[in-house]
């Protein structure tokens, strides 16, 4: 089920919301959130509910283990076994074919005639995200950062919370633990206005901006080999903003839904295209992932505690794994390596970079991000190299169809992303004024006006 679908907006959300607030007490609300989470998730493929239930049960049991045992050996087992189970499941569903294909390709390149057996494995939607949820819970419990919950319903509600189940933000238990604990006494109206507002702004970002850009970008990049340089640049710029508004829109909707149910979900985007250097970019883009990678990978690897070389190694390794997390394709690994490289390069030249004029640094960082998105968007290396070559070397070729229509949308998207306020800034000191109510009603009308014609398009991050 998609947030931008009629079944969600017209049936699922109103029913879930009404019943949730009619129920009294935290336990009943946990149960209801868990049930609705499984309905929401099972709408794609009910079979995968079992997988999520298994992962939930394993992690919950690990939490009980931490509560029961003080013995370091047993606690260590409670850490390693469930994480291994979670990672094995993720690895099987997401990376089996990638490994098999890569090995087969390697053997073929060395002269062996080995046909790669491509297995028919369906990637369960959201597995990368809820695996992160469960792993962070286990690690935080082990470290003593959180006290694991004994309430199975609370934990199930946390893992299967529909607002952040399939594409994040990656919410750590500790970030919403307080709100979950007080769910029974939560006020329905306290955050309703801000929740609705966040949700509608996210919907506007997705339906009106991202999907309009996607209409042009997808069409052009489907025949990327025939594009001229200008059309390539426009398509890539279009994708840059499409991806941002698609994912930031989803995250804002998730945050808004969280508010509506009394849960404060942390922000996931903070105008990343306003970043002035690579480090800042990663503090603004997909914040929940960056911070997870930092806290559960980079720092355990040693972070910057070792020498210069060790820090660089840790950084590069973190970015490589972060790239691979996005998808089982070598292009994602290269994309991760690219970002690792520019992070390292920035560390080396920071003394020269930082004195540059602000606008220049923002422009350069944006350009670096755009180059990264080319690799990210490419289905294979041929596509990435072709697009990058056409961006650098002036090449004649096909113009973008409908360029005059596309340009105003692109400019609008660019202005909002690079100069305008993000959802978080819009909601600072939020009060629902009459003007805001009218603007929100208009935003909802605009979204429905578009959706009635185009239907619901999936979010780009669902594939991860």
């Amino acid at each position: 089920m998609l947030f931008n679908s009629f079944v969600f907006l017209g049936l699922f959300l109103p029913v879930t919301y009404a019943v949730f607030w009619l129920l009294k007490g935290a336990k009943a609300r946990y149960v209801w959130l868990a049930i609705t989470g499984y309905i929401f998730y099972g709408y794609w493929d009910p079979r995968f509910c079992l997988l999520m239930a298994f992962s939930t049960l394993v992690s919950y049991s690990a939490g009980l283990g931490f509560l029961t045992w003080a013995d370091p050996r047993r606690r260590h087992l409670c850490l390693v076994v469930p994480i291994a189970v979670d990672l094995l499941l993720l690895g099987f569903f997401k990376y089996t074919n990638f490994v098999v294909d890569s090995v087969a390709a390697l053997l073929r390149s060395s002269g062996s005639d080995v046909p790669g057996p491509h297995l028919n494995i369906i990637l369960p939607v959201g597995i990368s995200f809820y695996t992160f949820h469960t792993i962070t819970y286990i690690v935080d419990s082990y470290r003593g950062t959180i006290k694991p919950t004994r309430n199975v319903f609370e934990f199930t509600a946390y893992v299967s919370l529909f607002s952040q189940l399939v594409a994040g933000p990656i919410v750590r238990f500790r970030q919403i633990e307080q709100d979950l604990e007080s769910l029974g006494s939560a006020s329905r109206t306290r955050w309703l206005g801000i929740g609705v507002s966040f949700f509608l702004i996210g919907l506007l970002e997705k339906v009106v901006l991202a999907d309009s850009l996607a209409y042009f970008v997808d069409r052009e990049l489907a025949h990327y080999a025939t594009l001229g340089s200008l059309a390539t640049w426009l398509s890539v710029l279009g994708y840059t903003f499409q991806l941002y508004f698609d994912f930031a829109g989803y995250s804002d909707m998730a945050i808004g839904l969280g508010f509506m149910f009394g849960l404060r979900i942390p922000i996931n985007f903070n105008s990343p295209y306003k970043a002035l250097d690579p480090s800042e970019f990663w503090r603004r883009w997909h914040i929940s992932l960056s911070t997870c990678l930092r806290d559960y990978l980079y720092i355990p690897l040693g972070g910057s505690r070792g020498g210069h070389g060790q820090t660089n190694r840790n950084l590069m390794l973190t970015m490589l794994i972060g790239g691979l997390w996005h998808g089982a394709n070598w292009t994602f690994v290269i994309w991760g390596a690219y970002h690792g490289a520019i992070l390292l390069a920035h560390r080396e030249i920071q003394a020269y970079w930082d004195p540059l004029p602000r606008v220049l640094r923002q422009g350069l960082m944006f350009l670096l991000a755009v180059i990264g998105w080319v690799i990210f968007r490419a289905t294979d290396f041929t596509m990435a190299v072709t697009l990058l070559t056409r961006m650098v070397v002036p090449t004649s070729g096909r113009d973008m169809a409908g360029m005059t229509t596309f340009l105003p949308i692109l400019i609008l998207a660019a202005l909002w992303a690079m100069r305008g306020p993000n959802a978080q800034e819009i909601h600072r000191d939020y009060r629902l004024t009459p003007t805001r109510a009218i603007v929100l009603a208009a935003a909802f009308g605009a979204c429905l006006g578009v959706m009635l014609g185009t239907g619901s398009s999936p979010f780009l991050y669902f594939q991860f």
């Binding site: 009106v208 009459p434 009218i438 603007v439 009603a441 208009a442 009308g445 979204c447 429905l448 014609g453």
Partner: protein, 375 residues
């Protein structure tokens, strides 16, 4: 309460205005339709004394017409050198209602014919045209494009209309240009999106039929296929075929196919009722029986005019997977039509190019898929 009374209308107005503006902007972005225009199906139609035909460069929703008003790629007045020009004449089944753009059967026929040689296929189907309309379209417009092969897919049910179709070379157009109507695009989008539940739709259909038949004497109704209408269908189709033959073009004629396996309306009796809404005078059983009775008539006309006959009715009747409603093809159905039609078209001689006809020139296509089960 007072606040709600003030704010509810204000928010509703903001919601509706923004929705309408967004729908129009989205149409501009995706369909290049002016924000101020009020597009309708009429944008596809040109109606003058020459008859009813497609409007050159007309477009509405998924339908895009070319420079000559055909639902085909851009074309030149004369056939492409070395290529045979095929024109498909018919009504909405040919024009294509439900298939995605480029998947209507003439478009799929063009794809299927590639293995036989260079063929240029023009879809000259116009929705709502009985044979007299098709005759005018052919005589006053299509034949100027010098087709080598003409496929005719006739729709006999028009001959059960209250008004008897009459053959006339020109159309008397009495009304002047219609004033532009303003329609809410938001509303149009909503109508497209909302599917009326089956029982409610059935009630609506029954009410519409009751309104159309109210006050009519019993003898007005057709309770059996009327022979005079069948004769008229024969004569009109024969005139059309003769006119095509006179230009030297080869003819491929097809029988008409519907979703119904027999006159009870099986397997979709509700659709038989829906079909009757368009032709209230006959009962559903009579509509289906007339359609069946027209097949030998079409065969006779084909034989008299030296046309190849493709019995689509026999091949496709009664298969729900191949139809999107009572008689319009689904994408799969259009594929079956194209697969069956391609060898018949390739077998037709092309006098201009000295092609004697190429039966199975590209190897046998094999039988079409048997009717798949619909779940």
């Amino acid at each position: 309460m007072r606040r709600a009374l003030v704010w509810t209308p204000a928010l509703t107005v903001a919601f509706l205005l923004a929705g309408e503006l967004a729908a129009r902007t989205d149409d501009w972005i995706r369909e290049d339709i002016s924000v101020l225009a009020s597009p309708s199906y009429d944008d596809l139609i040109l109606k003058d004394s020459l008859g009813v035909r497609g409007r050159p460069h007309g477009h509405f929703k998924k339908w895009h017409l070319n420079n000559a008003g055909f639902r085909s790629p851009k074309m030149t007045p004369a056939p492409l050198p070395g290529c045979a020009r095929v024109v498909v004449l018919g009504t909405s089944e040919t024009f294509g209602y439900y298939e995605p753009e480029g998947r209507e059967y003439p478009a799929q026929l063009a794809d299927s014919l590639r293995r036989f040689g260079c063929y240029e296929v023009l879809n000259a189907g116009v929705a709502g045209l009985a044979i007299p309309g098709v005759y005018r379209l052919w005589r006053n417009w299509v034949r100027m494009f010098r087709p080598d092969i003409v496929v005719i897919y006739p729709s006999p049910a028009f001959y059960l209309s209250d008004n008897t179709p009459a053959l006339a070379p020109y159309l008397h157009v009495s009304e002047g240009p219609q004033p532009p109507s303003v329609t809410s695009r938001l509303w149009l989008r909503l109508l497209d999106r909302v599917e009326v539940p089956g029982p409610l739709q059935r009630q609506r259909t029954k009410r519409a039929i009751a309104a159309a038949t109210a006050g009519k004497p019993p003898e007005w109704a057709f309770n059996a296929p009327p022979q005079d209408r069948l004769n008229l269908f024969h004569d009109h189709l024969d005139s059309l075929a003769s006119s095509v033959r006179a230009t030297g073009a080869s003819i491929v004629m097809t029988t008409h196919a519907t979703i119904f396996a027999d006159t009870t309306g099986a397997p979709e009796p509700d659709l038989a009722l829906a079909w009757r809404q368009a032709h209230p005078r006959p009962s559903p059983a009579t509509l289906i029986a007339f359609d069946r009775a027209a097949s030998p008539v079409i065969a006779a006309v084909a034989a008299r005019n030296g046309a190849a006959l493709l019995d689509l009715g026999a091949a496709m009747n009664g298969c729900p997977a191949w139809f999107a409603d009572f008689l319009h093809f689904s994408e799969a159905g259009a594929s079956v039509v194209a697969t069956l039609m391609a060898p018949a078209v390739a077998a037709a001689p092309v006098a201009r190019l000295g092609w004697p006809g190429k039966p199975n020139a590209g190897g046998p296509l094999g039988p079409p898929a048997s009717c798949p089960t619909v779940h």
